[in-house]
């Protein structure tokens, strides 16, 4: 999937992946996609819940060799 911006949050513990994601979302336009890489397992449920509560769309996610990837489309 093509992303407009990539955020590397690998090695960060909660709450930093979400804090950084929130900041990065401010830098993209509505309809653009942010790709996030994280290693904190808690990010799975939290990014999904955060996207939902903010009205953003979690378009896709994957897990490969311990690295979680998320693609979120900005509201």
């Amino acid at each position: 999937m093509n992303a407009d911006k990539v955020l590397d949050a690998k090695g960060m513990a909660c709450p930093m992946p979400i804090v950084k994601t929130k900041k990065a979302m401010n830098d993209i336009e509505s309809g653009q996609v942010l790709e996030i890489h994280a290693t904190d397992q808690g990010a799975k449920a939290d990014l999904a819940a955060w996207s939902k509560s903010g009205g953003h769309e979690l378009v896709d996610q994957s897990e490969d060799d311990g690295v979680l990837k998320f693609w979120i489309k900005k509201k």
């Binding site: 513990a13 909660c14 709450p15 930093m16 979400i18 804090v19 929130k22 397992q41 808690g42 449920a45 939290d46 819940a49 955060w50 509560s53």
Partner: protein
């Protein structure tokens, strides 16, 4: 105002002593709905931390000013952040050190009775509802249903100046990772398992059979194995010193074991009924029942222990009072609560087939135990 860290042991004391505490749980709503710190005397509020990144002003008025305030999250980081924000607003506030992960691992030893030249201890895992036991007599100890926090048991035995000789699991657990094998390896104790539950294990163990008697201390106590299938096919209870019935996951205080966690609900209903309605009926009603779990705080006594007389349970536990066999079958096979998190992987771990690292183990054990069905 400075933020304080509160240890799991301090929270445990407040639970047992039924003290006031206002918990602001900042995990996401699903995680909170699934599992939280349970206490009848606590008040709760759940607001995910990611709703509070711009500030805590909006929730300030919902937080009582006259109660001790504790912020809780999964691992600590988010609760510390939110606690600092609240402190900046002038609140006196603590966060839970190590988060729910540490809460899940906290064990509180409680003495449940005296034994000849010794004592019987229950290790209460408040965060997950697991109960382990250590019988001590004449310088020797036996441990039953140890959790994976093996240092707690080993250090406790050291402090008591006793040698761990025997380690038992009542059955192959599906809700938590057993520490039995590790304790046996570290101390040279014998690790006993019911062979019918251990058919797939990949390590050496001593097979527990019905009527097997193990002695702790030179002349002191007997541990009698009582084959009691139903939760699993191998499930075994123990009678210690003719006074205590360690019922494993067969009989709890306010519920009974579920027969489906190894995937065989229909096959094992008959065994479960036979154990609860026949085999246990033949035992003395004066035995003190000590289960391997509790599910709700009502099952925890004022002294922090979980125990009740078998005779009382025959009167009060609904699962022991269902005359109609079909109704019993329906109760334990239909509308069961969800199975414990990662129960397949936990079984594989307890068989020695997989060896997850500590982070993975903690992840697998998140959530309540869900080993019971309640009528």
């Amino acid at each position: 105002m400075a933020v304080k860290a509160m240890k799991a042991s301090e929270v445990a004391r407040r639970v047992v002593e039924k003290k006031d505490l206002f918990i602001l749980d900042v995990r996401n709503e699903d995680a909170y709905a699934d599992w939280k710190i349970e206490s009848d005397s606590f008040q709760y509020m759940n607001v995910p931390y990611f709703e509070l990144l711009d500030g805590v002003e909006e929730i300030m008025e919902d937080i009582p000013k006259d109660k001790e305030l504790l912020v809780v999250c999964a691992k600590e980081g988010s609760s510390q952040m939110v606690a600092e924000m609240l402190a900046d607003e002038g609140m006196e506030v603590s966060y839970l050190e190590g988060g729910m992960k540490t809460w899940s691992e906290h064990l509180e030893p409680v003495k449940v009775g005296d034994l000849p030249n010794g004592e019987l201890y229950q290790f209460v895992r408040l965060g997950k509802g697991c109960l382990s036991y250590m019988a001590v007599s004449n310088g020797e100890a036996a441990i039953i249903d140890a959790t994976r926090m093996t240092d707690v048991f080993i250090n406790f035995a050291k402090a008591k100046g006793v040698e761990i000789k025997h380690v038992f699991d009542t059955h192959l657990h599906a809700d938590h990772i057993s520490g039995g094998r590790e304790i046996a390896e570290k101390t040279g104790a014998v690790y006993w398992l019911p062979p019918k539950d251990a058919e797939e294990v990949v390590f050496e163990y001593a097979p527990l059979t019905d009527g097997e008697q193990v002695r702790i201390g030179d002349t002191a106590i007997d541990i009698n194995a009582l084959y009691s299938p139903g939760h699993t096919i191998g499930s075994t209870s123990f009678v210690i010193d003719n006074r205590f019935l360690l019922s494993g996951d067969i009989l709890f205080i306010d519920s009974i074991g579920r027969p489906d966690l190894a995937g065989k609900a229909d096959d094992w209903v008959g065994d479960l009924r036979e154990t609860l309605y026949s085999r246990y009926r033949e035992l003395s009603e004066n035995l003190i029942v000590l289960p391997a779990h509790f599910m709700i705080m009502e099952e925890v006594n004022d002294d922090g222990s979980v125990q009740e007389k078998l005779g009382t349970l025959f009167d009060k536990n609904h699962g022991l009072n269902i005359e109609d066999e079909n109704k019993f079958r329906a109760l334990v096979t239909e509308n069961l609560p969800p199975q414990p998190n990662s129960h397949q992987e936990i079984r594989q771990t307890n068989m020695g087939k997989i060896t997850p690292d500590i982070d993975k183990k903690q992840e697998m054990e998140i959530g309540p135990n869900r080993c019971a069905v309640k009528a």
